[in-house]
Structure formats: C-alpha cells, structure tokens
C-alpha cells in the first residue's frame, strides 16, 4: 500500500444496445407516458437490462470484466483488433461515455488525445482554434496563453496562425490540432490512434512528443495499431480481444502473443497423413518449422534474431537425388530470397531427414512472410512449390534513433557505415561515430 495506482480498473464493462423492441401503444396518453419512462430508463444503464417483459433487447458487450491497474509513470500500450474494445476503454477513462458496470479510479488530471481537432471550427483562425480547443480539452485560458508559443512552434504553422483553419492544408490542420492536445498538462494521458494520420514526418514528431511525455514520468495509456510504436514507447501492454483482457504483461511478449494469435501466422506445419503431405511416392514432407536459432518453435522472432527453417521429410526411394529449396515471400508478393543446399544433391538412402536453412539476424525487414517449399528429384519435381506456412518477423526498436514509422526496404541489413572527415574546415560538423 505504498502508493495508489494512477489508474485502477475493476470489473469494467460496457454494454451497447443494438436493437430495440417495437412497442405498441394503446393510447396516446399511455404512449407518451411510456415513451418518457422508457427514454429516462434507457438513459441509465440499469434500464438496458430490460428486466421483465421488455427483455427482448439485444445487447453487445464492448467490454466485459476488465480489471487492471496502472502505476504512476507507467507507459502502457493497449493493443487488439478493431472492435476489441480499446477505444471504448479510453472513452470510459476519459469520461466521454459511462461504463455499464464496474468502477474506475483515476488519480491525477486526465488528458485525452482521442482524436485531434476536437472543437476546431473551420471559420476561426489557428490562434482562435488553439485557444478554443485547448480550453475544451481542459486547459485554462492562462495555460494556453503560457504555452501558446510552444504550441505554435511545435505545430510549425508559424505565420499562418492568424489564417482561418479552413484554408490550411490537412497536414497543417492536424499538426496544429495535435500540438494543442500534446501540450495538455495532464498527469494521466490517454492517447488513441492519433498517429494513424498525417505524413511520416508528422507521425515521427507525434511519437517523439509522446515518448517525451512518457519519459517525463507521466502515466500514459496508448492505444495504437502501430506495434512498433507500442513496443518502443511502452514497457507493458494489454491485449484486448472481444472486450476482454486476454494478456497483460511485458510489451514484447504481449505483442508476439497478439501477432501469434492471428490466423495468418503459424510457424509450424506438420503432416500426419500422406494424403495431405506435399510430396509423391518418391518423398514426402513431414514437418516444416521456423524458429529462432536459439529458441523453440513459437518463440518470437524479430528482425535481429537469427532463425532457422527446419524441413523434415521422408525419402521413400533409395538413391533419389532430392533437392529442397525454400522461397521467402513478403506481403507484397516479392520473393525476398530463394535458397537451397550448396554443392548439389547427393543420392540419399531411404529414411527420414532434417535439412536446416540458417537465416542470419539483421537481414530481413519486419513483416509477415510466406514460406514456399519446393522439392526436386534430379530434374523432376517431387511436388510443386507450395506455401506451407507463414511467419512474422517482429520489429525491434534498437538502432532506430527515434524513428517509429515503417522502415522501408525489402531487406533491412545492418550495414557497416563510417564517417570520415575530409578537410580541416572549422565550419564542417564533426560527427565521429560509426554504427555497428
């Protein structure tokens, strides 16, 4: 009991009514009385229970039985698919909507960046909107005034500050809107998906700002689909699925659990039955697996992790000159590489074999990859190239220097890079560093 948590959520639930029963009204007076009663009752959560004869309503639980605590200064990511209840959670925490059950205690002033631009009016100037939006978001006029220069500087709209915002480009508009929200002096900051908007440069700036806030000892709850950002900003993450908390823990583990839960990624394929296994009477695949070189199947692989592709098969025809090859194909359909054994195939005795392809770390980019396997016997195909599994390479936030957007490139090798000084001119900068 040394210190109360900043956010304490207990048994939180939020129910939505998705269909209403159609009543028949015998008399006008009755109808009005009932309409009024119904209106008032449906305004309060217990009415939605529809206890008694009107219980024919369909309800949807956007959140159910959610309990967790967040300590002061913690930065917690909230991840999950669309509709998992992430936004509902933030909307309850910021008091926009009421929970249907449970209780939340928030200690500290709450600031929410749920959607930027709240309260902006197109006919007002940037300056006017900054004040308006700031006050609506919970700042006092004095606070806005005190931080006004900072807000303008951060937004970069500069000399357009006295132009109506309807003349702004959408980028300028967003920058100003975010800038106002980002300067909220809140102890508990709720951030939702603001980063899904704007160009890369702007996203980077936003994330930088959030990182700054987070490292400043404030409590942040951060909802995002940008898993890279979540991983680099947060130490801890909550995974929501269908309105329930399914995982709460160290960010990397939660993210990989989330990704692993998707149907799209399965790092192991096994065939127990010859009729389904790729192959022919010559040979058949038994098992294909992608795992970290120093880990077990199912362990997360990130862009820096060396990993192996294991191919188990059974050779049924002694002397066959079997040649396996694998192709790794990214989400755009580009074949990142195709690999096979060096030195050509040798005749093999009948039996079971395991071939292993070693892929170094710091080679591939993050993303979802499909693994295609092909097997030949001499010049004949034992089976056609077939996609046997898919696997995901997680991002890794080291060596990113504060950049949280997508790292472009088919591959992402870590290349030696040196800087040399060519002359003695004082004016030249002297960066004396080299990355590994």
């Amino acid at each position: 009991m040394s210190r109360d948590p900043a956010i304490d959520v207990e048994g939180l639930g939020k129910r939505f009514e998705i269909a209403r029963r159609r009543d028949t009204y015998p008399t006008l007076r009755d109808a009005m009385a009932r309409a009024l009663r119904r209106k008032l009752r449906s305004a309060s959560p217990e009415g939605v229970d529809g206890a008694g004869p009107t219980g024919a309503r369909e309800t949807l639980w956007a959140l159910r039985g959610l309990s967790f605590t967040v300590d002061h200064g913690e930065v917690v990511g909230v991840i999950g698919n669309n509709g998992a209840g992430k936004s509902t959670l933030l909307r309850i925490l910021s008091r926009i909507t009421e929970p249907s059950e449970g209780c939340v205690t928030v200690r500290g002033r709450v600031g929410s960046l749920l959607e930027v631009g709240a309260g902006f009016h197109p006919d007002l100037t940037g300056r006017e909107n900054a004040y308006l939006s700031g006050v609506i978001l919970g700042m006092s006029r004095l606070e806005v005034r005190r931080r006004f220069d900072e807000i303008v500087a951060f937004s970069g709209v500069g000399r357009f500050i006295d132009t109506p915002v309807k003349r702004y480009s959408s980028g300028m508009y967003l920058r100003l809107a975010f800038s106002v929200a980002a300067h909220l002096e809140a102890e508990v900051l709720l951030v939702d998906e603001v980063l899904a908007v704007g160009d890369a440069e702007f996203q980077r700036k936003c994330l930088g700002k959030i990182g700054e806030v987070a490292s400043g000892g404030r409590t942040v709850l951060f909802v995002s689909h940008n898993l890279t950002a979540v991983q680099s900003l947060c130490q801890r993450a909550l995974l929501l699925r269908d309105g329930q908390l399914v995982e709460d823990g160290e960010v990397r583990a939660v993210v990989s659990r989330y990704l692993g839960a998707g149907v799209s990624s399965s790092t192991l394929a096994t065939w127990l039955d010859d009729s389904t296994a790729p192959g022919s009477s010559t040979a058949r695949l038994l098992r294909v697996c992608v795992r970290p070189r120093d880990g077990a199947e199912g362990d997360p692989i990130d862009v820096r992790t060396p990993f192996v592709i294991e191919l188990d098969y059974r050779n049924d025809s002694p002397g066959a000159r079997l040649a396996l090859s694998v192709s790794v194909i990214d989400e755009q359909g580009t074949t990142v590489f195709n690999a096979g054994p060096q030195g050509g195939p040798h005749p093999l005795a009948a039996g079971r074999y395991r071939e292993t392809c070693h892929v170094p770390g710091d080679l591939m980019n993050d993303g979802l990859y499909r693994l295609q396997v092909e097997m030949r016997d001499g010049s004949e195909r034992v089976f056609d190239p077939s996609e046997v599994l898919s696997f995901r390479l997680l991002d890794n936030d080291r060596f990113r220097d504060g950049w949280h957007g997508n790292w472009i490139g088919v591959v992402r090798p870590m290349l030696p890079w040196t800087v040399q000084k060519l002359d003695d001119a004082e004016s030249l900068p002297q960066p004396d560093r080299s990355s590994p």
Binding site: K39, L40, R95, T105, R107, G108, A118, I136, E185, R218
Partner: protein, 300 residues
Amino acid sequence: MSPRARDPVGAVVRGGPVGQAAAGQNHSTVLHVIRPSRGWSPIDVAELWKGRETLWFLVWRDLKVRYRQTALGVVWAFLQPLLAVAVFSVFFGRVAGMPSDGHPYPLFVLAAVIPWTLFARGLTMASTSLTANEELVRRVYFPRLYIPTASVSGGVADSMLSLGILAGMMGWYGIAPSPGWLLAPFFLVASALAALGTGLILAAINVRYRDVQQLVPFAVQLWLFASPVVYPSSLLSGPWRVVYGLNPMAGVIEGMRWSLLGGEAVSWGMIATSLTVIAVLLTAGAVIFRRAERTFADVI
C-alpha cells in the same frame, strides 16, 4: 469499488511522491471515480463552475462565427429585428389594425420581438445544439450542459443591440425611457431561461430522435402567434390572462413591454404564472438532461 476510491483526502496525502514523479509539475492530485450512475443525480454545480471557461469559449465561438464571411457582418444583428418590425407593422399594425395598448405599433412590436427573438433563436439552437456539436459530444468530455447553455447565451448580445435600436426608435417617437428599463435585463434573462428549460428537454430527446429538429421550427412559428408579440394580451379578460401566463413567453413579453414602454395594461398575475412555469421548465429540463446525458456519446 475499493474503499480507497472514496478517500480523496488519503489520495492527496499520498500524492506527494506522485508529484515528484511528474517532473516538477505543480499540481494537486485529482481523483476521478468513474462508475455507472444510477437514478436521478443532482447537478454538479462545482464542476460546472470549475469548467466555466469552456462555456465562455463556446459562447465566444458562436459569436465569432455567426457573422463570419457575411458582407454585412454585425449589421445583421440590427437588420433582423428591424425587418421583423417592418413586416409586422405593415401586416398586423396597418392592414389588420391590431390594438397596441396605446403605444406606437412599431415600438409595441419591437419591445416584444426582442425577448421573442432571444427565446425563439435560443430554443431552436439549443434543441439542435448537441447534434450540431456531435463531434464534441463524441470526442471530448466536459459538462454537456454547456452546449445548449452556450447556444442560448449567444443570443443575449444580439438582444442588447436590439435594445439600443429600441432606445433610438423611442427617441424618434419622442418617448423618454422610464425607470422600468432597469428591469429589462431581468425579462431578457427570463426569456433566455425559458428557452434553456425547453431547449434542454428537446436537445436531450433530439439526440435519440431527430424528429425534434424537424418539429421545432414549426412549433416556434405557432408559438409566436400563441404569444402576445403582434397583439396585446389585454385582448383577454382578467382571469384568462393569468391562464394565458402558462405560456411562459406571454408573461415575459408583457413584462418586457411594460418595463420598456410603461403603461397600465400589465397583468402581474400573468407574469407570475409565466415565471413559475419557467422555473418548473428549467428544473425539469436540467433534471431530464442530466439523466439523459450519460448516453449522449453512445446514441448521438
């Protein structure tokens, strides 16, 4: 529902280390307990007062925006009542020959148009205010009561300008203002509150049933003719005037007229009835609004 959740004092005491953690920020520990509310809840006056700057900024926004990108700008605030007075004077004063309790008909009408406009515009804007500010309701939390309140308050500035016009017209007719003028603000506030009380109820309903915004303009038209704007309530005999006061605008308009133009034709019974109705409307409006506001963000 932990016991410590109900212990704001304890939270403040333990807030020390928290304050340090927040990098030298100068703040007190605020405690919010969020749980489903049940039944009727009282209006949180302290919260309303604390956030009053928001209300002020909403009013300011409406005023700022109202005449943006108009060629005549604020001239419209003068033109609108003048045009109304001109039309009413021609059709009801000249053509129909309505009585006007002995006042020049244009003055008689303008004295009523001022509170009526405040009421009619306030009511129309308040009842659609939540849906017009849907984005705010959906995205940000602040006391929802500010939104209709701001819509009604915005009209007060126009009323002040209109009072100036009336003073000018009285000068033109050579009528000196009486001390009753001092009561004019009171009746203006009364008509604003009548608009607010009705508007709160309609705004809350409009969030769920948009039928309201179809109905209101029509209802306001009818209400105009049900109120003593173009005719005097002295057309009715004594006791009926008190009953007529059940239309809150009847008492307010006659009170306004009396305070601005003087005269003996005023029925205090009617005014008292109207003021009582306004008080009831306002209370009912606040209570209903408060009860309904919990689901605004969900159903809007």
